[in-house]
Each structure stands twice: as C-alpha cells, then as structure tokens.
Amino acid sequence: MGGLDDLYQQLILDHYRNRRGRGRIENASASVHEHNPVCGDECFLDILVEDNRIVEIRADGDGCSISQAAASMLTEVVADKDLNEALEIVEHFRLMMHGDADPDEDLLGDAIALEGVAKYPVRVKCALLSWLALRDAIASYRETTAHGG
C-alpha cells in the first residue's frame, strides 16, 4: 500500500481531521465560490485584506481529504502574507501540482506534503480548488479597489 501512503501522508490526514481556517469571514474584502466539475465539490473562500496583506483567510465547503487538507494548509501558509507573496506561493503550488516545479518547503510549509498528489491527475483538481480560489479572490479584490470600491 506504498502508493496510498505516498498520497495520504499523515500531515494530510491531520489537516483533514483537524481543519484550520475553516468558516466564513463577515465583511470580507473578497469572497469567491469555486466548484470542481469532476465531483461537484464546492469551496467558499474569504479574505480580509489590510495594507495589501492578508490579515485573515477562511475556507469553507465540503470535499475530499485532499481538498480539505489543501484548504487547511493554504490558510496557514498565506496568513499575514503580502498579496504578491501569496500569489507567488499559489503559483509555486500550482506548478508543483503539475509536476513543473521542485517543491520549496520555505514557500509551501505543510503544503509540501501534497507533492504526491501530482501523480494522481484527477486529484490535482481537488488540491488546487482552494488555492486557485485565493488567486481569484486576490484578483477580485484588486479589481474592486482599482475601481475605487
């Protein structure tokens, strides 16, 4: 069962069973709702931005252990990060999921445990759901503020 242990590292199961950063933010700076067309799983992601930094991030919705652990890890990794830094981390994670980057633990924190998911193409979407939601949330935040919102 080596393959299964590779995929489901203890760190992943730990984040799955004890979700960090779960829930919604009232008066969020940006909120996005994403869903995975393969399985129908949903992700609601809220960020609160102050001085160009993510001062709070929460993810809600149901999903598989990979998607839930990925969301949990995301909220820890990007907390208190500058928006550009957060986008850089998301992009690094995305490249790792597509097998196009050597994972950098300094950037990814616990999310480095998701490296093994890259070998399971159908599950890559699960891992990316909340991370790409953050990318969209930042874009949406910037669009709103650019328009004087």
């Binding site: 399985c39 598989c64 252990s65």
Partner: protein
C-alpha cells in the same frame, strides 16, 4: 425469483472469456471491476470480431462493388440487425450513432429544433443523466420551449402522480431514463410512455443502463425514441443506437449532412437516402458496429433472462453486504426486484473520492462523483456518491472484496 428455470450464469466461467480478467494486473492485485455502469469489459469474441474485420475485409461500406466491400457492408449491417433483434425493433428504424448521447442529440436537433415552439414543454425526470437533460436545455434555449423536471422521492423513485400532473397540453416530449445510472431504480417506462401519449406528447426512453442488463422490448415499451450505447453492453466505444418508430424517422429531416445519407445531390439542393441511412452521414464506425453485433450475440447466447437474474442476485448480495458496513447508507431502492446492480452509497463523512482511491489500492474499481446527474445529487442532498456496479462477470468475491475494503477504509480515514 428465477422464472426461466434455466441454470444461473457462471460468472467465474464468464470471466475466463474476458482478457481483462485473465491477464495478470501490473500491481499484482486481482481485478475487482465494479464500474460497469461507466463502461463494461469486453469479451474475447468482441475483440476478435473487430480484429477480423480489419484483418480480413477492411473496406468502406455501402459503396464498393468489389466483394470485400460487400462483405464489410454485410458485417456492418449485421451489427445493426443484431442490435435491433436484441430489443425487438425493426432494423430499418435503428440508427447507429456514436453513443447514446449523440442519439439523444440527434432527436433534439432533428426533431426538437424544427418542431418546438415558444411555450412548448419538455418533461424530464430529476434522475436523468446529463445526456438526457442538456440537449433539451440547448434546444429549449433556441426555441423558447421549457424543460420541466418531474420530482424524484428521497427513496429514489420518480413521483408518478407529480409526473402525470406535469404532463399537459403544452407537453411535446417526455424523456425518461429506464434504469437510473446512479440509483439503479427501474422506472415503469411503459406507464410513462402511455401517460405521455395520452397527452399527445412524444417519448424518449434512455435505455443505456437497461439494454445491457435485462430483456428490453422496445416495441412493447412503445416509445417514439429509445437510445442505448454499445460500450456498456460488452461492446466497443464509439457505437450507440437510436431506435425510433419508422414513421417518426421518415417524417424527420436529417441531423448531420454529408456522404452516405443522400439520395441525390444537385447544385440546387439534395434529397435524402432511406431510413436509417438518412441519419448516418459520413463513414460510420464500421469495426465498432461489428463489435456491437458480436456483443449482442454473446449476450443472447447467455440469455437476457439469465443476465437479468444474475444482475438481480448481484444487486441483492451487494445490498446485503454493504448493509453490514458500519456507517454506510445505500441510496435508492433496496428491493433487488426493483433495481439494477448499480448501487450508490455514502460512508459516514468519508468523501467518495477518498473511498474510491482507497478501494483502488485494494484492486477494487468503483466510481466516485456526481455520475453526470447533478440535479439528482441535489435531490439526494449530496455533492457526490460512491457507486459500485456489476455485470455478467461480477462474482461474489468482487462484492466481498468491496465490503472488506470499505470496512478498512472507514478505519483508515479515522472518521
């Protein structure tokens, strides 16, 4: 409930006729393939028939005057004949398509786009596969017609009284699935067809999950249209069928235009070939039709009554075995007499993706997701389910392997 008195199918002997089950697996696990509702495995005779066509008589059909081309045409048309015979339908009114989805789209475009008007209604059920919803939505958006959904009970059955109430003078089409790909529910399609016809509406029956598993008599069902696909009935991908009444097909304009489907072409316009060829533009999937014919002959040799009895017995065993797994909930009817052997379930809070991934590590192949039936998922109050589904080669060992792996799975994810 064996009514024929003939001996039960020997699934173990049947497996020996399927190369997929004979060859050793790369991971060393035995293969417990429980995803036949997605696609079935293929017996050696199907692969041989397709291979023989390519090796012995590959030529385009319907045109060549040389003997090899005539032989190719003969084998291709024999596939049609076999498929029509299996469902007791006139062969000239069986159009070969790419799959059941294309067959439904053919009707949606060739009939729906031309015939539907603003305010007309198309009635479907909440348990339809997306392939029997989306084509109607597309046509509705083009014509101003509306798509109405007949409700499904939490137990997974179409509410017939509500369906009856939905069908009215504006109803032009009633489209319903014969056997649900998610719940296994067998719908009373004759009753539904009668209901629709009394209101003057046409009917489309999606028999994708019934034709492979039970005797289906299209003439007795009496629908205007009935569709199914080859790859779920031990045949190849790339071949499906639309069985329609000859009158209806004759009255309809073509769907796709091109070679093969014309009677005459001039610079002023074209006239159409006779049915069914009027609806088969371009070079058809010849080897696939040959493979479909071989699959039908294989099923006929087993006997569709015995195939159904094996399906029923497997459904019963699956429901019993799954019922013993702590935390597991079966969706859909639990009476095996009223369902097929596609069984959807949830397992506590373990997500279907995780279940399917864990089962794969035990050599058990199941489906996880919304099964292309998102409206039904909403009725069931879930995003996704895990589904195990059987066919003639499914053994007791497969079901027990599923049961054992599920019990382990729950512990492993610690919920």
């Amino acid at each position: 409930m064996t009514t024929t008195g003939s001996p039960a199918l020997d699934a173990r002997a049947i497996r020996a006729e399927f190369p997929m089950f004979v060859a050793p697996r790369p991971d060393g696990h035995p293969l417990h393939y429980l995803d036949s509702a997605a696609t079935s495995q293929k017996p050696q005779v199907v692969l041989d028939a397709m291979n023989a066509y390519y090796r012995e008589t590959n030529a385009n059909v319907h045109r060549g005057v040389y003997e090899m081309a005539a032989e190719a045409t003969d084998r291709f048309e024999s596939g049609r004949t076999a498929a029509a015979r299996l469902i007791n339908h006139p062969r000239e009114a069986l159009v070969l398509t790419k799959n059941a989805t294309e067959a439904i789209n053919l009707v949606a475009w060739a009939w729906g786009v031309r015939e539907l008007r603003e305010g007309d209604e198309i009635v479907v059920t909440e348990m339809e596969h997306h392939s029997n919803i989306v084509p109607w939505q597309i046509v509705a958006s083009m014509t101003g017609a509306k798509v109405l959904f007949a409700p499904v009970t939490p137990q997974g059955e179409v509410e017939l009284d509500a369906l009856r109430a939905l069908i009215g003078p504006r109803t032009r089409m009633v489209a319903a699935v014969h056997v649900s790909n998610v719940l296994g529910t067998i719908n009373p399609v004759r009753e539904i067809v009668e209901m629709a016809h009394q209101a003057g509406a046409l009917t489309m029956i999606d028999a994708t999950q019934s034709v492979p598993h039970m005797p289906v008599d299209a003439t007795a069902i009496g629908s205007d249209f009935l569709v199914f696909t080859g790859h779920k009935m031990l045949g190849p991908t790339g071949i499906g069928a639309l069985a329609a009444t000859p009158e209806r097909l004759n009255a309809m304009e073509p769907f796709l235009g091109g070679g093969e489907m014309i009677y005459d072409v001039t610079t002023e316009g074209s006239t159409w070939a006779e049915i069914p060829w009027k609806f088969e533009a371009g070079t058809p999937p010849i080897a696939e039709a040959v493979g479909l014919g071989a699959a039908v002959e294989y099923l006929e040799a087993l006997g569709m009554d015995r195939v159904r009895e094996h399906e029923r017995a497997t459904a019963e065993l699956m429901i019993d075995a799954l019922g013993e797994v702590p935390g597991l909930t079966i969706l859909g009817p639990t009476d095996a007499d009223r369902r097929g052997a596609a069984v959807s379930f949830t397992l506590d809070a373990v997500h279907p993706h995780d279940i399917a991934q864990f089962l794969d590590s035990k050599g058990v192949c199941v489906r996880a997701g919304h099964h292309c039936a998102k409206p039904l998922m909403r009725v069931l109050g879930t995003q996704s389910t895990t589904r195990a589904s059987a066919h003639v080669y499914t053994t007791d060992e497969d079901i027990l392997a599923l049961q054992g792996a599920l019990i382990e799975c729950r512990t492993w994810f610690g919920v």
